[in-house]
């Protein structure tokens, strides 16, 4: 439960940091658009995607993170949501490692602007992957435990009927 909340919190904070006004000021549709276009610059600086793909990722990722955060928090189909989360965080981690090994001295952009991509950032990102893996494993274990008594009960009923 705690892991789930923590994992959901990571995605919600990440989405919020990307969508919030990047300069002091009130929230508005314009401020969100500006924040997304600024995030697009950060995605582009990774030099991994074409300009159009970087733009697409920048304009969809924060909303997907928001959705994923709420999905994990709700606990609905937790096995699936936690697997999606692990894949997403694993993908981020791989991208950061690649960028770091390439020697690109850029901002991570993971939780808003101004975050340098360095060993600290990589360590934090790896912890997030571990947390997501733990939540995924937990979700599968809990689901299995729930299904075992149910199966036992079904077998018992079947035996009774047979008698």
């Amino acid at each position: 439960m705690i892991g789930r909340i923590g994992l959901a919190g990571i995605f919600l904070v990440a989405a919020y940091a990307k969508l919030k006004p990047q300069a002091p000021g009130p929230w508005s549709a314009g401020s969100v658009k500006t924040s997304l276009s600024m995030f697009a610059m950060q995605v582009d600086s990774f030099q991994l995607l074409s300009s159009s793909s970087a733009d697409l990722v920048a304009h969809t990722l924060p909303f997907f993170e928001l959705f994923l955060g709420l999905w994990i928090l709700s606990g609905i189909a937790l096995r699936l949501s936690s697997v999606v989360s692990t894949l997403l965080l694993g993908g981020f981690f791989a991208t950061l490692i690649r960028t770091y090994l390439m020697g690109l001295e850029i901002n991570c952009g993971c939780f808003g602007p101004g975050e340098r991509l360095g060993p600290k950032r990589l360590a934090l990102e790896s912890l997030m992957v571990v947390l997501s893996l733990a939540v995924t494993a937990g979700a599968f274990i809990v689901a299995r435990r729930k299904s075992v008594p149910a199966e036992s009960a079904t077998s018992a009923v079947g035996l009774e009927q047979a008698r």
């Binding site: 940091a17 300069a23 500006t34 697009a40 928090l73 001295e105």
Partner: protein, 248 residues
């Protein structure tokens, strides 16, 4: 029955937690904003009491400030891929005022020397030409240190004579580091290179950003600061950002 009760309890707990996170995240992020967002700086507040290396109109709605090292390959890429079209389009049309700040890195042998030449060129009004020449030929002079050759090619012989004369008093600095002619007290030595004060001021400003890699850039618009950001960004993506900011 117990299971139902437990489920109800979980649901209630879930609702409370979601509500708490929804309330806590904005508060947390506001704190982060206060911590990470640079102080609001108006366009007019960009210091220019020293040798100005800027292109465009000061009254342009957006000011872009770029901290770079002439020998840094990423700075060269940013200039060639992004700043050139920016200068040709948004600077020429008066939308952006592009300010260069020197931030020579110690690992680049000729970065400081190149910055001196550009500052000298700025005094004869040839900053844009010399900057372009140095980035266009970065690969060549980064090897042999013959910056002079490209500075000379970027201006008339008369202008180059003036620039060369000014540079005569500048001893070659040790690889990339602040030269000895510039004292640690923040004042140039009596007979030091006249351009070092400007370079050091830029570096000091960069350290307040803080600049930890080059290129690092930020934007000013209507008293708001966007950035800093580091690395190479392609022109279509930066153009989109500028259009969005200007349309606000």
């Amino acid at each position: 029955m117990e299971l139902r009760r437990a489920a109800k309890g979980w649901r209630a707990a879930g609702i409370v937690i979601i509500a708490a996170i929804l309330v806590a995240i904005p508060a947390l992020a506001t704190k982060q904003t206060a911590k990470h967002t640079p102080p609001v700086t108006k366009t007019a507040a960009v210091p220019d009491e020293y040798i100005v290396k800027a292109i465009g109109s000061k009254s342009a709605p957006v000011t872009m400030e770029v901290f770079s090292d002439y020998q840094c390959p990423s700075c060269g890429s940013l200039y060639e891929q992004t700043l050139k079209p920016l200068i040709a389009d948004y600077v020429a049309s008066g939308k952006v005022y592009l300010v260069h700040r020197d931030f020579p890195l110690p690992l680049h042998k000729y970065g400081y020397e190149a910055a001196r030449w550009v500052n000298a060129a700025a005094l004869v009004g040839k900053y844009p030409e010399v900057e372009a020449a140095l980035y266009d030929n970065q690969a060549a002079w980064s090897v042999d240190g013959n910056i002079q050759k490209y500075v000379a090619a970027a201006m008339s012989p008369v202008d180059f004579k003036r620039v060369d004369k000014m540079m005569e008093v500048c001893p070659p600095p040790a690889a990339g580091v602040s030269p000895a002619s510039y004292s640690q007290t923040g004042k140039p030595a009596a007979h030091g290179c006249p351009f070092d004060a400007s370079i050091e001021k830029d570096k000091a400003l960069g350290n307040t950003v803080p600049v930890s890699a080059t290129p690092t850039f930020r934007f000013y618009y209507k008293g708001k600061t966007y950035g800093p950001m580091s690395g190479v960004v392609s022109w279509p993506i930066m153009k989109q950002f500028l259009d969005q900011v200007i349309s606000q």
